[in-house]
Symmetry: C4
Subunit: 185 residues, 4 copies
Amino acid sequence: MTRFPRIPAPLSKRASRIRILLMDVDGTMTDGSVTLLSQSDGTALEIKTFDAHDGQGLTLAHSAGLRTGCITGRESPALLRRAHEMKMEFIYMKQPLKMPAYEDILRKAEASDHEVAFIGDDLPDIPLLRRAGLAVAVGNAVPEVKAVAHYTTRALAGHGAVREAVELILRSKGIWEEMIDKARA
Amino acid sequence: MTRFPRIPAPLSKRASRIRILLMDVDGTMTDGSVTLLSQSDGTALEIKTFDAHDGQGLTLAHSAGLRTGCITGRESPALLRRAHEMKMEFIYMKQPLKMPAYEDILRKAEASDHEVAFIGDDLPDIPLLRRAGLAVAVGNAVPEVKAVAHYTTRALAGHGAVREAVELILRSKGIWEEMIDKARA
Amino acid sequence: MTRFPRIPAPLSKRASRIRILLMDVDGTMTDGSVTLLSQSDGTALEIKTFDAHDGQGLTLAHSAGLRTGCITGRESPALLRRAHEMKMEFIYMKQPLKMPAYEDILRKAEASDHEVAFIGDDLPDIPLLRRAGLAVAVGNAVPEVKAVAHYTTRALAGHGAVREAVELILRSKGIWEEMIDKARA
Amino acid sequence: MTRFPRIPAPLSKRASRIRILLMDVDGTMTDGSVTLLSQSDGTALEIKTFDAHDGQGLTLAHSAGLRTGCITGRESPALLRRAHEMKMEFIYMKQPLKMPAYEDILRKAEASDHEVAFIGDDLPDIPLLRRAGLAVAVGNAVPEVKAVAHYTTRALAGHGAVREAVELILRSKGIWEEMIDKARA
């Protein structure tokens, strides 16, 4: 009935330990579009496009007790609003280097690397993907990112990649069916 | 000349009874994109993208005497304007649980479940899909939704899925050709 | 070198007579998206997405002496700006029925049906497609529209369908290569 | 591990000499969408959508010492902001004819044609593509542009075409791996 592929035992073991789910924004929570609206005063405002299925996935993650967050080099009220809608706990914007933010989150959450999953798509995500207990590349990540990931989603970024990562984790914990039943109650 | 597939008799019987066509919004009337425009004051405005073919389909439904409506967890002036353009009668926004809205509509319309079609794509739509006389999943619904639907559209959400549901209903009532002739008069 | 398919003689004869190129807007000059931006006062503004290749095609048409225009049921400053950028001569907005606008254009241009091409995608375009000397359906038009068209573009609406129609006409007139040479001079 | 195709020796020779990377905007840095937002005063504002992977590519190009720029017929604060984010040195807007801008850049940079790469997609780019030492057509360029290009990207415009051109150049110079290592440090 459901199309999720069989999860190999070593991957399932990694995923079952995750307590914290972190992710990049552009090209991970979005499809990588960078959209700007020209203003008549010569400036431009940023538009961001997220995915409703990803949002439902993050709601499931939250209900399951996972703590979530995002780390990005850019900054926009659009992301801030979406992150709040998704009840994300850790929101780090304007981070050209992402490692300090990553380490700050681990400190605050009193977590170690093997309890953290990170989802990314491009070169600046690689150092974090190398440390995270579960490194997930979105389906359209660059080859260098896929090469260091434990799992590459079949879904593309901004079209369900985040939800697929959530499903991978909840299935590995053996609580996917239970969460689904709650969500559709 | 037309490519609509043959409709099995049990499905046709279900669809022929429909008087009220209800639907989810994000991922059903839209492609699931959640688009936000950053404002300089730190807030963000919501952008929604609907489909012109779906709009024409809802116009056909309306001409055929169907009553239409939408139930969604979100709220936006963009949806409100589109729903008014489509002459939708029932507009329920900010409904994290959709069942109370569904029951309210049935009460107002003095209709019973078997006279109602519902189109959806994700977990929160499942309780309604289980009650509606005709449960339609959009082509890119999650597997759990497709599993409870009587019909899954070939078209994707935001790209003709709503129109395909309208066509299914009007064909089952035997009035599709007549409505088309009127529309192109 | 170029991939345009061979044009059958009867089609070429039709296309070679065209002096006026008219078209629908939503689903023809755009991909059919109806995009609305919520405003904080509860209203919504319309966003329209056109195609740069189509624009270049309309510039070629204009250079070749064709007169161009659009007829649409909707109204927006976005369309108005684009139509002006494309130097369109006939701009008819808010036309739920399109025939009066069509006839008005023919009167102003002192043209007869066989000198007019019309490009469309949905039911309200059918009456005009039945009259126009060259009736063009975009690649993703509904089946009822394709059924009455003399030519269906391989390109999809909002992704080169208008340009393909221009190329069909200029090739049929035997002036495509000449116009290309001018454009890339 | 990486999927970049083998680069033929003559192409590699051309690409290895490039010091300046110039490009068209609509249909090259974007997917060719021309998006306009209606304003209540009857005017319209331009929205432009760029690609995060292209942005990362331009950052790599910049780190490798390449000088970059764009030449376009249109004008918008959206492009200006993105070009500044990408640290582009040469920004020429409102250039219906692109050759004067091209020649102005060569003069300022004290460069000759064989040191310049140009990426384009449509007819107005052809004169520059004929002069540039490395002429790159995006994957969805019109046939006339592909015909004069030394290389056509597998990626589509607005979806990695610019990054693929950067990778072609840095690989031909033998510094791709080194730049990647720096970027993911």
